[in-house]
Amino acid sequence: MKFGIFHELSVGKPWHPRSEYEVYHNALEQVELADRLGFDQTWAVEHHFLEEYSHCSSPEVFLAAAAARTQRIRLCHGVAMVLPPFNHPARCAERAAALDIISNGRLEFGTGRSATWTELGGFRCDPDLTKEMWDEAVRAIPKMWTQDRFSWDGKYFSMPERPILPKPVQKPHPPLWVAVSSPETAIQAAERGIGCLGVSIGTPREYQKRVEDYRRVIKNCDPVGEFVNDQVNGVTFLYVDETDEEAQLWGTKLAYTFAYLAAHLVGIGSVYPTPAYKTPGLLFALRSGTQEKAPGGGGALREGMAVGSPETVIKQLKLWEELGVDRMVFIINTAEVIPQERVLRSLRLFAEHVMPALDLDAREAQRAAPSAGSLAETTMP
C-alpha cells in the first residue's frame, strides 16, 4: 500500500491579510516533508468560490511550486475541473503538460465536474450536463497530449486543428483519474480505464462495493487514454500522535472543522433538482456521516480514519488494505486548526512507525537508513 497527502487549502475566518499566504506556505512545507518521508503522491484540488473550505483555485500554480521543492513525490491534480465553462479542455491539457515537464514526469491528472451550486452557478454551468461535459473532455484530453495536431467537433466544445503544446514528458501521457463520490462514478471510471480517486471519506465498508465494482468492470474497459490506469485511492483524515487520546483530540478537531466548512457550501442536490446529481457527493456524504455519529454537532471519528497512535492507525489502514485499495491519501489539516508543527510531527510519526508496516518499499528504505529514528523529535507548541 502507498500513501499520499491531499490539500484543499482551507482558510478559516477570521481572515487577516496573510491568512492565505500562511496556508499556502504551510502546505508547501508539508509537501516538501512528505516527499522526503516517502509519501508517493500529493494531491491539490481545484475549487472556485468555496470561501473558507477551499482557496485552491489554481492548483497548477501550487503544484508547480511543489515540483520545484521536491524530487520524487508525484504531483496530482485532484481534481482539475475539465468542464468547458470552467476550463477549456485544451487549457487543461496544456497546463498539465507543462507541469509534467517541469516536474520531470511526475504528474497524475485527476478530473472532475464539481458538486456545488457555488461553483457551477458561478460559471453558469448547467448541472444537467456536467457528466456529459466531463465525458467529452476526458476523451479529448489524452488525444491532445498524443496527437501532433488536434481538432474536435463535440457537443460541448469544438476547435479547428491546432497543435496542442507542450507535450507531456510521460509517454504516452500522464495517468488519468476521476474523483469518485458515488457508486455510478466508480463504474464509469472503470469503463473508461481511469483511476478511481475515492473522495467520499466514508468507511472501508461503505467503499467495499465500489472497489469490487471498479475491479470487475475495468477488466473489460474501453480506455479513453492510451493505457489503463487500474488504481484505487481512498481519502481520509490523518493525525498520528504518541497516544490515542492526544491524537483523537486533534483528529476530532480536524474532522469536525472539515465537515463544518463543507456544510456551508451549497450542494447541487439541495437546491437544484437534477438526475445528474442523485447522490450527494463528497461534501454532503460527509455531512450525513457526521449526523449519524454526532447528533449534537460533528467531528465524529469513523472507522477507517487514520487518527490515533501508530498502532491504531496501522489497524485502521489494514481495513483499507484488505479491500484492495492501492493507496490512501490523507487530509492532514484544515483551516490550520492543527498547528503546523504538529502536522509535520504527525507526518514524521506516520513515516517512521506506520508506513513501514504497510508499504514494502518504505520498509526496505528504512532498513537501509536506520538513523531515521529521530524523525519524530519535534517540540510541540
Partner: protein, 244 residues
Amino acid sequence: MPDQGRLTEQRIPHTSPAIAPLYPPPPWKLPGVRVVKLMYETDVEPLLAWLPPKLTRSSPPYAVITIAELPETPIGPFSLAAQYLGCRAGFFIRALTLQAVTDSSMAMTALREVWGYPCRLGTVGLASHGPLKTATVGEGGAPLAALEITGAEPIEGDLVRFDPVLNLRVFPSLEEGKRHDLVQMVQIDPDYAVQTARRGKGTVEFPASGAESPWAVLPVRNIISATYCEMDTELPLARFVMPY
C-alpha cells in the same frame, strides 16, 4: 397546613387554547398540495440581518419562496406563501421563515400559535397551465411577490427536496415596554411524497413591498431553480430546537 388546590393540567379551563383550540391539533395531513418553489441567490448583508446568531449562512447566500395551495386541511382549504432564509443550523441545512401570508384567518392563527409562522392575512394565488405556472402574493390590496415558471418540464419527484423549516415562536410579554417574554426556535420536519414535479425557468418580481411585509428585503441576484410539485404532505407537531 392550609389545603392546597388540586387542579391538574388536564382540567385547565376550557378557555385555554391548548385544551379548546380553535383548530385541531397537529399533525395536519395535507393531501393534494400544489406548490411552486423558487430558490434564488441573494445578498449577504440582508440575509445576515434577519438570521439569528445561532444560525449561519451558506455560500452563496440564498432565499426560498414557496407558494402553496392546500385544498384539504383540517380547517378547510387555504393557501400559504412563505419566504425563507436558506441557512445552516450547525451542520444541517435549514429554511428559516422570514415572512408568510395566508388567505385564511383560521390558518393564520394556527400557523402563528402552533408552528410559529410569522404569518399575515393576505391573498395568495396559484395557476397552472401546462408548462406555465404563475403564483402571486398580496396584502391589503398590494401585490408583494409574483412568480412565474416557464417551460416547466417533468422531473422525478424524489429529486425535489423541502428542507426542515425553522420558526421563532414569540409570546406577548406581560412586562411594560418588553416586546416578548420568550423566543423559542422550533423546527418543522414534514414528511412529503411528491407525485408529480416539473422544473422550469423561474422569475420573481416584488412589485410593491409594504413596510411591514418587505419581500424585497432579500433581493434576487441569481435564480437557482424553479419547480412546481403536486404532493401529499403534513404539518407535524413542531419540535423545540433551541432558545433564541
